[in-house]
């Protein structure tokens, strides 16, 4: 699949934003983020909302006819894209309510009314990220995406990047970042294991559609003689993107290093010596790494249209 930059930016930014809000609000239910006062909590929620909004706006750049974008809210019953849009839009008024509550009462514990709103906020944020993952996972046409691992990865990476951001915010307010650093380490480890599982899974020999089931006429050897077109069409531009195997392997190593290993080491260092720059640099590494990770997510996906252009399996 052709990597789409607007979608890559959208999923990275809004994933981190939603992850930040989920963690801030969730920790708020149980006594607040360690080392962050009321103002800090409100700031964290606002930063998360801005990031999520920036991502959502970027995603509209990918539409060929954005004038009709408002119609995307009306197929909630069947379409994951519609569900994503609805959850994302509901998220904002509820978050604003939560912010007002936090500033007024200063307490988002679970037994308060602010806490009740907080639960709704985090559920909506989780639902939005999950719906993003399901947009891809529901496509049977792309075997590399058609898996429960996809929404799980989207959710875990959103939480891990949100945790790093929250640690960076805490580091600016105080030097009590050990609790957040520990949480980041745990989330990074879980997300890393899930991503490694995904890479292992897509590396297994393809067992799904092949050029034989596509042509449905033969079990013999098949090769494309003539595509009936002298130059690339929409189909080739959208679906036939291919990067060299060497580049893909290198990029995977970069993903492992920048998304998981380096932030993990930096956070482990923060457990011992609380240098204020450790958390922001970990978050920065992860942001860059996640862009590469999303690019790979597209580059490694093989749509069944390629079978009709001579690819043997998907």
């Amino acid at each position: 699949m052709q990597p789409a930059w607007s979608v890559i930016f959208f999923t990275v930014a809004s994933g981190a934003g939603f992850g930040l809000v989920i963690l801030t609000v969730f920790l708020g239910l149980f006594g607040g983020v360690h080392g962050l006062g009321t103002n800090g909590t409100a700031a964290a929620v606002i930063i998360g909302m801005v990031l999520a909004a920036a991502g959502l706006l970027a995603s509209t750049l990918h539409l060929a006819n954005p004038r009709n974008a408002w119609r995307a809210f009306f197929r909630f019953r069947t379409s994951w894209l519609s569900r994503e849009a609805v959850f994302a839009v509901l998220f904002y008024p509820v978050s604003v309510l939560y912010l007002v509550g936090i500033v007024l009462s200063g307490d988002g514990a679970w037994f308060t009314w602010v806490g009740a709103i907080g639960i709704v906020v985090s559920l909506l944020a989780v639902a939005t990220v999950f719906a993003t993952g399901m947009i891809y996972a529901s496509l049977r046409t792309i075997p590399q995406w058609n898996s429960a691992l996809v929404p799980v990865n989207y959710l875990l990476l959103a939480l891990a990047s949100g945790a790093l951001l929250l640690t960076a915010i805490v580091a600016m307010a105080s030097d009590e970042i050990r609790a957040m650093a520990l949480l980041s380490i745990v989330l990074l480890a879980i997300a890393g294991a899930a991503k490694a599982t995904y890479y292992f899974w897509i590396g297994m020999p393809p067992s799904g559609p092949s050029i034989h089931t596509a042509l449905a006429l033969t079990r013999g050897q098949v090769r494309l003689l003539e595509a009936g077109q002298s130059h690339d069409t929409f189909l080739n531009r959208e679906f036939s993107f291919q990067a060299s195997a060497k580049l893909l392997v290198r990029l995977r190593l970069i993903v492992y290093a920048t998304v998981f290993v380096i932030p993990f080491v930096l956070m482990a260092a923060a457990l011992h010596a609380g240098h204020p720059m450790l958390a922001p640099s970990a978050a920065l590494f992860m942001a860059v790494g996640l862009v590469v990770e999303r690019w790979l997510f597209f580059a490694e996906a093989r749509h069944t249209v390629n079978l009709f252009y001579g690819r043997q399996t998907c």
Binding site: M1, H62, L63, A64, N65, P66, R67, N68, A69, R71, A72, F73, F74, R75, T78, S79, W80, L81, S82, A85, I135, S138, L139, R140, T141, I142, G208, P209, T213, A214, L215, A216, L217, T218, G220, Q221, V222, R223, L224, L225, E226, A227, G228, Q229, S230, H231, D232, T233, F234, L235, E238, F239, H303, T304, V305, L307, F308, Y309, G310
Partner: protein, 232 residues
């Protein structure tokens, strides 16, 4: 009704006549124009509803050319419709035709991703998704003579490789062809249940073929000449 096509991969000669006819009819039809880029230049490309690709099946010398025309299969489980967030894509109750409402589409591409067959192409000038309509603007047109109320690709095909009809009627022409010739679905394992069927190549030659004799060597020819002259 469940309207669709039967495509005879044995008869298809890969002449691209249906591709041209489709483009010609539909560029001025309900979804038109089908935008072209650089049509007379070095790198022409553009929107098409119907594409024909050719394959070599088997290994030379035991190989065969198979041509495969592809357009929307008007799937019974049309996930392109399921994923559409705007409701622009829909499947008609009455005849199963899958269409895109150009006034509602926001050009998000998701339906093209969901279609296994590459039947949907984004027109980047109108910003909307376009696809085969099964010539919905022909097949119900009372102004046309009855025998012309068919998709234009079917009418145009010079080798009788395309057939149009109702798959809900067990005695329809298309259903009979599927029964007799073992019509197949493309990518059945994906579960889209495409309506269009492909008839596989026949094992026996369709038309009687002259079996040529291998020309012999000089000795054989001399013997033949001798026996002919002696008997005379």
């Amino acid at each position: 009704m469940k309207l669709g096509l039967v495509i005879d991969a044995d008869n298809c000669v890969g002449c691209q006549a249906c591709v041209v006819a489709c483009k010609q009819w539909n560029t001025s039809g309900t979804l038109g124009p089908l935008t072209d880029h650089d049509p007379y230049g070095d790198e022409p490309s553009g929107v098409a509803f119907n594409r024909v690709r050719s394959y070599e099946v088997g290994v030379f010398p035991n190989s065969k050319t198979v041509n495969m025309p592809m357009s929307c299969m008007h799937c019974e489980t049309a996930e392109c419709v399921t994923v559409c967030p705007t409701g622009a894509s829909y499947k008609r109750q009455e005849d199963g035709i899958v269409l895109v409402d150009q006034d509602k589409c926001m050009g998000c591409n998701l339906c093209a991703w969901a279609c296994p067959y590459g039947a949907r192409e984004l027109d980047d000038v109108s910003g909307t998704m376009k696809k085969c309509t099964l010539c919905v603007d022909r097949i119900y047109d009372d102004a046309l003579p009855e025998e012309e109320r068919q998709p234009v690709c079917v009418l145009t095909c010079p080798s009788n490789a395309r057939h149009f009809g109702d798959f809900d009627d067990p005695d329809s022409h298309v259903n009979r062809l599927v029964r007799e010739r073992g019509g197949q679905q493309s990518l059945p394992e994906l579960g889209y249940n495409p309506v269009n069927r492909y008839l596989p190549p026949r094992n026996k030659p369709h038309v009687g073929q002259e079996r040529g004799t291998t020309p012999g060597g000089f000795a054989d020819r001399l013997k033949g000449w001798l026996s002919r002259s002696v008997s005379r």
